[in-house]
């Protein structure tokens, strides 16, 4: 209890407020780089749905410029426009001048949080994430319990489902089931391999921990079979991406420092593996961006970032495809395709490694879908706050998946998995959605 209170009191530490301001200033320096050529219009999934210039990167940057030069106050409409972005970074990839649009969007959201505050609901959730994992755990447990009551007990056909809708959630929505017991509660802190070889530190990530513990089990199964010992620090926290994406940089900085301290305290050398694309992005880049003004913490972030790997990257680059092939005994039975999570592909430049793992796991039964790297519309909380656009973006993705004729779609991000499951369920549910590492784990 004491611990909680102490953290709430110094929640707006002066350095963090200044650090946040520096982040915004640096992000807005990107504005000068945009020459308004319009190339982003050809790749932005949100613009493709709305067709309005304000929703494309070029328009959003112009609006940010206008807030800087005083032409536009921080209006409610500005907030709405800035929030209407999945942070998929397709515009960044397509930009000849490498304008870091995602930084500008996060910077603008941070500015809005700074000047106008966060909506109450988000405030409660984010502060909750910080104050204690215990509390976070109980919030999610309550969620789990409520969900259980509302959705497990009420038969599919019952009218009660319509009469007691959850806020923001419609009756057709796919609702991920929370695990009865989070992964980190069940797992041992150290899973030693019989062969005495390298240790890796496993950063689990919230979605895997609370919703898809099977992904974590798959990571451990594969590493174990390869003779690698796994350290799983129990008190690891949220990576901070949802908080950062919503512009609450002060909390994001604190989450970053806590995770850095915890993960770096294990040892000085072990690689850190991550099985979610946002977690990997944060550990590799996000923490450095957040803590750029703080020499000590920036150095720590760089150290950790340099030895962080997405699980597919670790397996292909550090272990090697040959060793992986050696442990595969029963290949995946049918054609498999792959959806590139934005923060794995554009965020970490990882596209070949998961495909190689899938080829190994399926004995070559891999097929590309059209537009594999196009955003699925999940975008973290975007899918909840911008349901219609998110659904429209998702439809194009599921059409692409269906056209590949594959019976399994693999991906490297639990948030994408939730989204794809929802979309594919509406298409009849005949395509299975798995994490890449689950496919591999099933084949050994």
């Amino acid at each position: 209890m004491n611990k909680c209170r102490k953290k709430t009191v110094d929640i707006t530490k002066a350095e963090d407020v200044m650090g946040c301001q520096r982040f915004i200033d640096k992000a807005f320096q990107e504005l000068d780089k945009c020459i308004k050529c319009g190339a982003c219009c050809s790749v932005c999934p949100v613009f493709a749905e709305h067709g309005l210039e304000k929703y494309v990167a070029r328009g959003k940057l112009a609006l940010c410029e206008a807030t800087v030069d005083g032409t536009l106050p921080l209006t409610e409409e500005f907030r709405r426009v800035i929030n209407n972005c999945t942070l998929c970074m397709a515009c960044v990839e397509n930009c000849a001048n490498d304008v870091q649009v995602q930084q500008v969007i996060i910077g603008a959201r941070a500015l809005l949080v700074q000047k106008r505050g966060l909506p109450m609901l988000k405030q409660i959730i984010f502060r909750g994430m910080l104050t204690s994992r215990l509390m976070m755990h109980s919030v999610l447990k309550t969620g789990s319990l409520m969900q259980w009551i509302l959705f497990q007990r009420i038969p599919q056909s019952s009218g009660l489902r319509k009469r007691f809708p959850l806020p923001l959630i419609d009756e057709h929505r796919y609702i991920p089931k929370f695990a009865r017991q989070p992964f980190l509660k069940q797992a041992h802190e150290f899973i030693e391999s019989p062969k005495d070889s390298q240790n890796v530190i496993f950063f689990v990530g919230c979605s895997t921990n609370y919703i898809y513990p099977n992904i974590a089990r798959a990571v451990i199964k594969v590493l174990h079979r390869l003779g690698i010992s796994v350290v799983i620090p129990e008190d690891q926290g949220c990576c901070g991406m949802p908080v950062m994406a919503n512009g609450d940089l002060i909390i994001a900085r604190r989450l970053a420092r806590e995770n850095l301290a915890r993960l770096l305290s294990v040892d000085d050398t072990s690689p850190v593996v991550v099985c979610c694309s946002s977690g990997g992005y944060m550990l590799k880049h996000g923490y450095m961006e957040l803590l750029a003004d703080d020499a000590l913490w920036f150095a720590k972030a760089r150290t950790l970032g340099a030895r962080t790997y997405d699980i597919s990257e670790y397996l292909i680059k550090q272990v090697g495809p040959k060793k992986i092939a050696d442990i595969v005994s029963k290949t995946h039975p049918h054609e498999i395709t792959y959806h590139d999570p934005c923060h794995l592909n554009r965020g970490q430049d990882i596209t070949a490694e998961p495909r190689e793992l899938l080829r190994i796991a399926s004995g070559g039964k891999f097929t590309e879908m059209p537009e594999a790297s196009r955003c699925c519309g999940s975008g973290g909380s975007y899918g909840i706050t911008h349901r219609d656009t998110s659904r429209a973006i998702l439809m194009r993705k599921t059409d692409n998946i269906m056209s590949s004729q594959a019976r399994t779609v693999a991906t490297g991000c639990p948030a994408c998995i939730i989204q794809l499951l929802e979309g594919l369920q509406q298409q009849g549910g005949c395509v299975d959605v798995r994490h890449t590492i689950e496919v591999l784990a099933d084949s050994i």
Binding site: K36, A39, L63, A96
Partner: protein, 470 residues
Amino acid sequence: MEKNMINNQARASLIQLLGRKRYSESMEDRISYSYDATRQRKIPDAVVFPENVTEVSKIMKIATAHRIPVVPRGSGSGLTGGTLPVKGGIIMVMNHFNHIVEIDQENLLVIVEPAVINAELQREVEKVGLFYPPDPASMDFCSIGGNIAENAGGMKAVKYGVTRDYVMGLEVVLPDGQIVHTGSKCIKDVVGYNLTQVFVGSEGTLGIITQAILRLLPQPESKKTMTAAFESMTIASKTVSDIIKNRIIPTTIEFMDRNAIHAVESKFHLGLPKGIGALLLIEVDGDMDQIDKQARQIHEVCRSNQTIEFRTAKTDSEREELWKARRTIPASMLKIKPLRLNEDIVVPRARLPEIIEAINRIAEKYNLIIVNFGHAGDGNVHVNVLMEDEAEEIKRAHHAVEDIFVATIALEGRISGEHGIGVTKREFIGLELGPAELFLSAQLKRLLDPGNILNPGKIFPDELLSRNKK
């Protein structure tokens, strides 16, 4: 703050016509339609989103009645300020006109609405084995309406011509709201004046294009892409002349000079030999045996001009990467210096070596970095005078541009090949057109747009349209 041009009565009529969703005076919408690729900003008073030609016509009637300027806008990717509302007024966003109405495979033509994206049209007609050649570098995001209004060129002009050569007919709304149909689906058509071509390249100053009939070709069986590196731009441009002299018309011959190569290399890692002064990107299309023969001949010409390295793209993705590198040069130049003056002069192609030499002399004279790239095959050079953000250098750059225009005209060239005049070059139009041509143009503008409400402040200096008034 300048005065809002929209009075209450006009506003009420427009809202009644379009509803509050498709008429906006919100600052956010106005700002997001205040710019194009010139990087200039001029905030309009209102933005409208018509859904059909009747609405466009009614908007123009309201605008005429209240003397409100209207600027039609496609994708806003223009390079000369064609969609900047320099006199305020209304931006007419055409984004609802985004349908391909009909692909007529028997008559080899397509009926399109103006907001269809160039690359999207190409993809759709390619699905049925047809081909729409004009392909400006911005093809992934520029609209067909904008292409027609600016008479856009592209990479394939050397063999296939420009947008003008593919427009068979138009539906156009005149400034007073009249709807006119020009041209037809017929290849031969001499009924009356060729009104279609009056509107092609009119930069949105004479009418608003709401539909177009475009000519298509059968898709060539195959294509082959090559690159040839040379020690200097002079040798490269001589090579281009030699290729044409040998009676070979490639689909494209693009060139990049040393600075242009440098600008894209950091992103694309083309792995070119160090120290090269020019790169030619050459593509041929046609039947397999025909293109093999042409490719061999081109290789021969390049070799006799001491090419340092000659490469043929082996895969589609290799080819696409080369093209992507070429298409992103304009945007990549910011990496060298923060500001640039972007000109697109054109000379008869035999004079390419001369104009390149002239530009190099001018760069030396004013001590400036000038990046040249563009369409060697049709003599169209994109001249980019780079500048630091400091008054003295900006002044020198402007002098250099004037010198380049004078040199271009002396070589029988034109000061714009495909970007148009817009606002950025209108002060120079008198260098190129004489008083008689300017007078005729002003007469034409006044005939179609007596109130000067359609995209005012473009192409001609303001004095011209007021001075010649009778």
